[in-house]
Symmetry: C2
Subunit: 719 residues, 2 copies
């Protein structure tokens, strides 16, 4: 008899917390041996204080950092956790996970931190106000404009997680919340709780996280929702039934709590009629189905539950899946050599899955591969397992002679179970495949496996609105694809309808789900003050030509380091006349002899030009000549151009001038230089706008010439 | 006694429908005279058939058009409705609306159609698949990539509207749904139902709308939600209590129906400590408060309910508001000359507002301006009204000596009522103003009235997360501002918490709320097939230099009209060597003598350059020379450049070449030309990418040279 079973502690108010010794608790067991590993209980925990701590200390401490500052912390944390993977693997094995499963969970979770760190620094400003979308002119004279900003929500993100990926499931929600500046309160599921707690232990040990930014409730969430209001959000992963209950909570239905859910769904994999046995697509399809049945013993909300294949290929698919399972799959204790598929999370899960399979068999499914012992009795006491106490199950493939049978589109066996359905190909098959996939009533993901672009287009656009993600598998990506069942941090995860209607990940999209989008309206000066980005029409300090606004004593902004430069610092050049000779010479030297620059008769017939006009490239090249400061200075390079539009043609005899204004200044947190975006306008002698664009430069932080020099640096790529 | 009162008909299944003569009905009355205008009833209407009609006929008919096709129809519809404004004004006056109120409602609604038509054609592709965001590389070799698309939801948008703006409230929801391709089922409120029905009558008469795209339920929504599932959405405007009820409906909480709500809120207007009496800001503030109290008799979900002002200015604000009301406001039947404020929507509304004011007086509010007769008895039988039967009320201003009194932050009088609260300015005032505004627990809009950029920045970033919109009012935009209470179609409307948590308008954002965002993953060829946009790495047909992929017989894509051009059509140039003389000559002719192009010693110290390098502008100018087709042809102009990045420096002795690929082809629906976006890559002799960018051109639809010529055309502006 075991006596030294410990209770999993909660981490709240920046300290570890344990319930009273006598508090009622649930046992967490080893999935393979049935051994009791730990007790789980949050009985007596003051959840109101937990929420208040997040809203006060957590908000304040996270708010001391900018987006980039928090992004850097995510990278540090990822590096730290990398060093503690082995101890997490050991705990993970107790949940029934193979080494491969554990890597999906643990390395996958750490990978999310790295991705968000890098995207945060590349795609978000180094501040706490994110401008979204273009400026909208709201008055003719430009004195009243509008745009949108994102700022973080003022409360907590309560993350209720499922049992299947205790680490990834936590980090994929924590990362965007943290980046947004929103404190996390995580409530993992009881099976796997000890693994989630081990990961939180490591995160706390790292010393990297600001106070209040992460709290762990290691037990029932009880009345947690009662504590929340419109400032907070709930990010739920789990069953559709629980999601519905939470959504009907008065604080969600009427109290303004933001609620997002990701529930498991009856995901489809669709095989194209072109993907006959022997093709790379057929092979990739079979491999994908078996992988999704067996990874994590099929306990994945993204697993393939419905293989939708051309009617004539049903037999071939069943045979090939069965053969691959026989060849590859060894069920047992994941700590045992040679085992490729572990246990389900618990005997309760096993019983649920078996019951679902029985129901499907009763509803028209036929057992096409695998065995099914009586519910509750393990049928595969795999190598190394405690006989009768491990939650083991063989992969089960069901054949559905009636593809419309309701059961296959509504029942889910959350384990190594998949059904095969046939569709008629008499009209090409695409519309039939779309129709069957739609019977799932909303899914997280579907795979379309075909090398026929027309079939792929028709099916993908036909099913997209019912899916959060669609993977197209063909010979070109079969080896490089990250797989049907694997959400990637760059792309959204979640789906409509049965899949819960939520959206996670998707890069910065998920950060914005933790922020409020607000329209702001005002004058250019006021929107400049609010956003820290210079807006056209706002005040500036202009150096250069007095005739065009230049003020004596103002320094050319290219002479200013990031420490000195302010948005609104500007330079105005004088006019430079353009002659026909200039245009001709430019045509000759560049080779750009387009008729609009060389042939007066043809040029005059062009609907956009009055006759021969200067090259757009001549104009921007000359503009650079007009605004450049030739001698070495803090501006290191012009690394790009954005949003260039040629608006008024320039003919021989016209003159041009340029005005350049510092619009956005982004010092890098890890380099001694940063990016400056310059609003650039070329005008002609009449003041008409000839061209407008953004010039992108790299500028040193401090005015120490050559400070950054002598080593190589890299130019930012476009987003 | 009246006998000829008609029932407002519903418009369903593309036909007008009336209930049985004996069906129970509600009376719609003239707000000023109490006269019964119409009966309202949808008793016996088969709502399941209405929803099914939208999902089948409506979806199919709208799906025949592209985004641009539907956008054009919105413009036609707006033009048609413009011609029928007068008859709508007459009906509007019966709701208690003044001519000004009616213009906000009717002209404002038509304006939304125009804006969405124009934005749809400028900001959306001419197809039914909208690509969102950048491509994400998911494998090192580029064979597996991901991105996001939007496709319309496969059901109906059920629009439940409030009584206050029957036309605008309908069209601001209809326009984005229609543009997305989603059929509308509109359920207006009973007061104002006859006006909404008159507008629908005009829309149907126009003959512009496809079958099934618009249905009107002129009566109780009864079991409408019972008919909806995950394919559908509900767009609700009304009370928070009703929104909470609908959100708790099983089809919303558990059935996947998308639900968005806009409920009225306790919007604040904050006066800055700098905005002393006599300043333009003080004057603008007073004007704004009085406008928001009296337009539509204060029955606006965006109206100012809380004037939050420096403690010391409370008296001055109360006096100035009172004086302006006395000077400007004449309450009465809006059809009577000289009336500036009409009736509330009904006697029931009047009773509600009075009761709310009584409750506020009991909770610490003090009557600072206006009179309040006993509840239920009209106090202002204005000129022309049926005495005792018009829902008239004078504007009421309340003073709140205790700014923290719960009532002012929780109770709403949905009429011409506003409270004044003071904040302490001992620490500058911003944080105190933010704290008071936050007590509203989520609002649609706030005004910040100040000319102090620091105060504005602190307050706006402090309150943004609790607001859907913030207006900054100062001397610069006081005359051009569209006003506190007016949502504009370009910017989002809606707010968190008490404001309902929803989001409407915001230009294309609201179109996307009617679509599902789906991540798609696959090879470049397959993502090209799905989106109709060429992806890097996908197949192409290359003309030009054989050494770099050119195939004999392929025509230069600049020689192809839109009718002939296909995405993936490409051109590859040969190599052109760059010499020091070229660089020097370019520096001299353009004036761009930056040291990196002219001074070998200084250039070598720059961390990005190996020594003297060619100008980026030289490279793109030469690239144009390398890819140009000089003789007249279907390509009319290069109107811009996007996403230019210089990635590898080019030194003397290097050579460059360019490859150009048709990436996106967008024929205009109204012109005989369209836009073509060309993926452009400059490589050096080693194959390194020197620069990458998009070249934007205008190309004729048909290969009829000079067809478009001889008339002026306009270049598209950047979004």
């Amino acid at each position: 008899m075991k006596t030294a079973v410990e209770t999993v502690p909660s981490y709240v108010l920046d300290a570890w917390w344990m319930p009273d010794a006598g508090a009622p608790a649930t046992d967490a067991r080893d999935a393979s041996t049935g051994e009791v590993l730990a007790r789980v209980s949050a009985e007596g925990l003051d959840l109101a204080a937990v929420v208040e701590h997040a809203r006060t200390v957590g908000q304040e401490e996270l708010g001391r950092l900018t987006m980039h500052g928090r992004a850097l912390k995510l990278r540090e944390l990822a590096g730290y956790l990398n060093g503690r993977r082995e101890e997490l693997y050991a705990v993970s094995a107790q949940t029934g996970a193979t080494r491969g499963d554990s890597m999906v969970d643990i390395d996958g979770g750490i990978g999310v931190l790295f991705t968000f760190s890098s995207k945060g620094r590349r795609e978000l400003p180094n501040s706490n106000v994110v401008v979204e979308g273009p400026v909208e002119p709201l008055s003719k004279d430009g004195s009243f404009i509008g745009e949108h900003i994102y700022t973080r929500i003022p409360g907590a993100d309560v993350q209720v997680n499922a049992f299947n990926f205790p680490v990834w499931g936590m980090l994929e929600k924590f990362a965007p919340a943290f980046l947004a500046g929103v404190p996390t309160i995580v409530k993992p599921a009881t099976p796997g709780m000890h693994l989630a707690a081990a990961a939180v232990r490591a995160m706390v040990d790292s010393g990297i996280l600001p106070p209040g930014s992460l709290q762990l409730v290691a037990g029932s969430a009880r009345d947690l929702l009662d504590q929340l209001d419109y400032r907070d959000m709930v990010s739920f992963t789990g069953s559709a039934a629980t999601a519905a209950l939470l959504r009907a909570h008065p604080n969600v239905s009427g109290g303004g709590v933001r609620f997002t859910a990701e529930t498991d769904s009856l995901n489809a994999a669709i095989l194209g009629p072109d993907a006959m046995p022997g093709t790379p697509e057929f092979e990739a399809f079979i491999r994908s189905v078996v992988t999704e049945m067996t990874v994590k013993a099929g306990q994945k909300c993204t697993a393939i539950r419905r293989a939708i294949v051309p009617d004539g290929l049903r037999g071939a698919v069943i045979d090939a899946v069965g053969a691959r399972i026989n060849e590859r799959v060894v069920v047992g204790d994941p700590r045992t050599e040679g085992v490729t598929m572990g246990a389900l999370a618990s005997l309760e899960q096993l019983a649920d899955v078996r019951a679902a399979v029985e129901a499907m068999l009763a509803a028209g499914g036929e057992l096409a591969h695998g065995t099914l012992a009586a519910p509750g009795v393990p049928d595969a006491a795999g190598p190394g397992s405690g006989v009768g106490r491990g939650a083991f199950m063989s992969p089960v493939l069901l054949d559905w002679p009636d593809a419309e049978a309701a059961a296959v589109h509504t029942l889910e066996a959350f384990g190594p179970v998949c059904g095969v359905l046939g569709f008629s190909t008499h009209d090409g098959g695409a519309s039939e495949a779309v129709r069957l996939a739609a019977l799932g009533a909303g899914s997280l993901v579907a795979t379309v496996c075909s090398n026929d672009p027309d079939f792929v287009r028709e099916v993908v656009t036909g099913i997209a609105a019912r899916h959060g993600r669609v993977l197209v598998l063909n010979r070109e990506d079969a080896r490089t694809s990250t797989g049907h069942g694997s959400p990637v941090p760059h792309l959204v995860h979640g789906g409509p309808g049965r899949a819960g209607g939520g959206e996670e990940l998707g890069g910065i999209r998920s950060v914005k789900h933790h922020m409020q989008r607000t329209a702001i309206q005002g004058s250019p000066n006021m929107l400049t003050a609010v956003t820290g980005v210079w807006h056209e029409g706002a005040d500036r300090r202009i150096a250069g030509e007095a005739e065009f606004g230049g003020v004596a004593g103002e320094v050319h902004p290219f002479r200013k380091s990031l420490a000195e430069l302010r948005i609104g610092d500007a330079f105005a050049s004088g006019l430079r006349p353009v002659s026909l000779e200039d245009i001709t010479a430019f045509a000759e030297s560049t080779g750009d002899t387009f008729y609009a620059h060389t042939d007066p008769v043809a040029a005059a017939k062009n609907p956009f030009f009055p006759g021969i006009v200067a090259h757009g490239y001549l104009l921007v090249s000359w503009a650079a000549g007009l605004f450049v400061e030739p001698a070495p200075g803090p501006v290191l390079a012009n690394y790009g151009l954005e949003k260039l539009r040629f608006l008024t043609p320039v003919a021989a005899g016209d003159s041009i001038r340029v005005t350049l204004t510092a619009k956005e200044i982004s010092p890098r947190v890890t380099d001694d230089y940063g990016e400056v975006r310059w609003d650039t306008v070329i005008n002609n002698q009449n003041g008409d706008v000839v061209a407008s664009y953004d010039v992108l430069t790299l500028v040193e932080k401090e005015d120490t010439l050559y400070k950054s020099r002598g080593r190589r640096a890299t130019v930012p790529r476009p987003p």
